[in-house]
């Protein structure tokens, strides 16, 4: 057997061993410029982040408009409205897993950062729900609402508004491709007058079995 054969056999063997070995997992930090990954099967940060930003921006913009009913504080600025953010309800076809709590925190933080509202601490809301044993979806029943607001008031957190967030989705199927429209709706109810404001943001997303699916289904010639 020639030396060349030995060396080629050795190279092939080394290659097989190298290719055949298991790899390790690595992580890296993303900068603010890096775009979110686009989920291949379900919605992720690429959907939820813009939904939250848009819906909150719309709601705050409307609420910051000058209003005759809005009381003015001693400093000459409108008094901040006290808002109780009850929670995020998921009515989508997808499970959002660990995103739910993050959505709550994102919305809560955005409200806090605005100058129009004074949100109630999440822990106080949870404690009031626990104490009253009320379901979040039953708070609009007048007796339940009175009980809930009285508990918060007793704990030093009187509220003017209840805020509900709801995620919904609509699915359209075309052979192996699917389009899913994600909608985040923010419902804000004035406890004193009963008036409500509603703002929503929508993102549409397509899921395809092949890489060409998006081009095939979403081109101007395809109608």
């Amino acid at each position: 057997m020639l030396r060349r054969d030995w060396l080629s056999a050795l190279s092939c063997g080394s290659l097989i061993v190298w290719v055949g070995c298991r790899g390790h997992q690595y992580g890296h930090l993303l900068s603010t410029k890096d775009e979110n990954l686009v989920g291949s099967h379900t919605a992720g940060a690429e959907v939820f982040d813009p939904l939250v930003d848009e819906s909150i921006a719309k709601l705050l913009a409307r609420q910051q408009e000058p209003n005759e009913e809005c009381p003015i504080g001693p400093d000459g600025y409108p008094v901040k409205k006290s808002v109780c953010f009850v929670g995020v309800e998921n009515k989508m076809a997808e499970d959002i897993g660990d995103f739910k709590d993050q959505l709550y925190e994102q919305i809560d933080s955005n409200i806090l950062e605005s100058n129009s509202f004074r949100p109630i601490s999440r822990r106080m809301v949870e404690a009031a729900l626990y104490e009253t044993r009320l379901r979040p979806d039953s708070l609009m029943i007048p007796d339940n609402m009175r009980l809930f607001t009285s508990v918060l008031q007793r704990d030093g957190a009187p509220i003017d508004y209840l805020l509900f967030a709801k995620l919904t989705s609509g699915t359209t199927k075309r052979n192996t491709s699917t389009q899913r429209d994600y909608l985040l709706t923010l419902d804000m109810v004035n406890l004193h007058s009963g008036e409500y404001d509603k703002q929503s943001a929508e993102i549409r997303k397509g899921y395809h079995k092949t890489a060409m699916g998006s081009i095939w289904n979403y081109n101007p010639l395809k109608r």
Binding site: R22, K91, A93, D95, L129, P136
Partner: protein, 501 residues
Amino acid sequence: MRVPRHIGSSAPCAFWFLVIAICGLGSGCSTHAKRIALPRSLFYEGQIEQCRAELEKLQKSHRHDRDVANLDLAIVDLVDGRNRQSEMRLKEVRERFDYLEQTSVTEQTVSMWTDDSARSYAGEDYEKILLRVYLALASLMGDGVDAESYTLQIQEKHDAILSRLGQEQEPAVEAGEDVDEGASVSDGTPLPATVPLPPSPVAVAPTESKAPYRGIPIGFYLRGMLREQTHQNYDDALRSYRIASELIPDSMPLRWDIERVQNSVHSNPGHGVVYVFAMVGRGPYKVEVAELPTSDALLIADRIVSAVGKYSVPPTIAPIKVPAVMVPPSEIDSVFVTVDGQRIGPTTSIADIGLLAEATFLASRNTIVARAVARRVIKKATVVTAKSSMGSNQWTSLGMDVAGVAWEATEAADTRCWGLLPRDIQVLRVETPTGTRSIRLHPSLMGQNLGAGQAIDVPVYDGRNTYVLAWFPDAHGNCKVQCSESLPSSSPVTLRLGAGN
């Protein structure tokens, strides 16, 4: 190293044949099933310390058994109340199994000249889910801080397994759909949590489905249980209970759970909830069996090849060995729960591990047998190639056939598995007034209580869950019952409770 320019052709072949044969002989005949027999019997006899010592010894002496021994040690720790230690072991194996999910061509190649035990064991699919289930249970028995994360990981792993198997994802459950009319309560009043339950319903056998893995209800059940406890995320709880209910359509308690999270609340004021998780029966394990029909067929084939070929092929005298799943018969089918002397009901199945193990094995059996046949063919081909290269005479050929048969006889089936799992994981939810409650658990068969059972005092907190973990491997053996340490620190209402209680 200087490589000679020319090497004789027969010498290296003989050398490599010798090396491979020695490697094969080195793999040995001992199986994991034989090595685990003693620790397993010690565990069921209640000799926990001796069992732990044996498992630790096995972990050190057999490199390829390390992970499964660690899993068994995690169960031993959990039974012994060492929740933190158990959690650490399970986390370690979780990382290992995730790493070993990648294919190693090197290991696969080596296993073709030895046997399947040369491959690292990455766990069966159901074991990967149960690993995370036990992580959640271990956490709940301790501070409960990570329990919710583990339930999310169960779901993540479930999705990954389905994706890998290329199965069509189950259509997502639409929240708000009507459930079975038979379980509905028209006026929306809370369903009593202490309704006497019917005898344990048998989970739908996964074998009824083509797919070897459909999901394990307990993972979704745990998620629903924890989300319901928040008093806020009833929609998440509903979604999880529905998936669990789809996996066990006959389970009446799951229908009650669905009804409760749709129309009622976690618990009435002044009440808390006790979840009894019962590990019922002795779990499945793998044994080595001879695959005789395939061995006979291969013997006929190699005799034909020997008759028509220039060189003889080692005869298939040693039978092909493959693993088989054994599910020991169970003396009990449920655990009957009594609270402060009041009969509540039996636990019901939420993860039938015996069925899961059998279904998983049946799905992979053909692959295992095919691999064993391919291994034999490769070994026989190696012997024939060696004979051909060496130009062996009759006596050398006979000697090499004998060596080949010996090489084949050293094969052992891969019987590694998580050996100390129970046959069935069962659960019962009891809503009860707050305070310390005396809970008695009786092993039960066909509705008849067997033995005196075991009692434990359980603290019940207002609006919160308390967890009881019970081990009943058989009717009269050593049962162990323990209760979660205290109110989980992650509780959103800990501060209020602390002030109120």
